[in-house]
Symmetry: C2
Subunit: 218 residues, 2 copies
């Protein structure tokens, strides 16, 4: 079955570059976090609020992954942190070679933390390691509480799940305990944070956790 | 470049099966609509409200595509319409052969309209024709108004764009005229509906359009 062989070689090639990225980041003392989510779950907003909250505590750099456009990178650039846009040209996920190219354009020696915003997609990014030390899935309240059940691969890949847009809970039928049970069911080791980038609720726990990663990189 | 050749052959194979599906559906007088959206945009809810609203006007069948689980199919089955679950086994989109298998399990002679719920993904499904007569993208208000700009391939593929969850407009910064301008920019021929499956606002226009498709299938 030659097709299967090609796919395996392709994934091995990605994992090999991801390992190189991980080594490079460790050498420079940079902790990388891969942020994955559906389109519109609030990845960019969470990055912007995180940069603001970590001001003076950590030196941040950002990679913005999108199928097209650079409006997210433009938004991040207004904060003054170094940011590189990666356009996948329609592709559905970031891969390790794309991140490798972006690393060359970032001032790694002047960074502690790299936030990588993946393409908005709750399926494909789960399968591609980038060199990150932590995988984070952002699940927003309007998407509904059944997502760990319907997109298990993504939640299995997650070290951390952020439930975002909790300010909308009063207007929607999102059962937070049920969602936590579903996450627990597919991935008992995943840590769950609850955040709102509008009201700042829960942001400090998330930011403290990110800040703590620098003490234990890799 | 052998890889490119393989991909092209693969897409040609899909398009060929899609053409077979289209022919089979036309012979049986069934109009097929491919519903694509991000996870949690409200595809299943829109299908459920549509079945209810078209009761007595059209005989509906449903194909439910998911990476895993069958909760959406179970929800649709409670309405009494024939439904087939397609699990992609982690795959990020439906393809024409999957739909072909599902068609064999549906009572086509007793159907007028086939609603196909694709995998929740605003990237990959855009590239795979299934045999549908219309492609519909559902964009929900909480995802933000910039999606046509960030996921252009999906909006270019759309015959119709449904803006769903408009009952949440008072709680979010979604600029409806700006969204319509972005859709117009990437795809001037796309028709836009605005709906809420909570308040039923706008549903009748959408349902009337669907019902009208039967007069001009293919």
């Amino acid at each position: 079955m030659p097709e299967v062989k090609v796919v395996q070689q392709f994934m091995q090639a990605n994992d090999s570059v991801a390992a190189d990225n991980r080594r490079l980041l460790a050498e420079r003392g940079v902790v990388a976090v891969n942020l994955m989510a559906s389109p519109g779950a609030g990845k960019t907003s969470l990055i912007l609020r995180t940069i603001e909250a970590l001001d003076g505590r950590a030196r941040i750099g950002v990679i913005e992954g999108d199928t097209a456009s650079q409006i997210d990178a433009d938004r991040v650039a207004t904060t003054g942190v170094p940011v590189v846009q990666v356009n996948t040209g329609g592709g559905c996920h970031l891969d390790a070679p794309m991140v490798r190219s972006a690393l060359d354009a970032l001032p790694l020696d002047d960074m502690d933390l790299l936030l990588i915003e993946n393409v908005g997609n709750l399926v494909c990014p789960a399968g591609f390691r980038l060199g990150e030390s932590q995988n984070v899935v952002i699940a927003s309240v309007p998407e509904g509480d059944d997502k760990p059940y319907k997109y298990p691969a993504m939640f299995i890949a997650a070290d951390v799940v952020v439930v975002n847009k909790i300010d909308l809970l009063p207007y929607l039928d999102f059962d937070l305990p049920a969602f936590r049970r579903l996450v627990q069911g597919v991935n008992p080791r995943a840590r769950v944070f609850e955040t709102s980038c509008r009201t700042d609720e829960g942001l400090s726990d998330w930011v403290d956790w990110l800040d703590g990663l620098r003490a234990r990189p890799g």
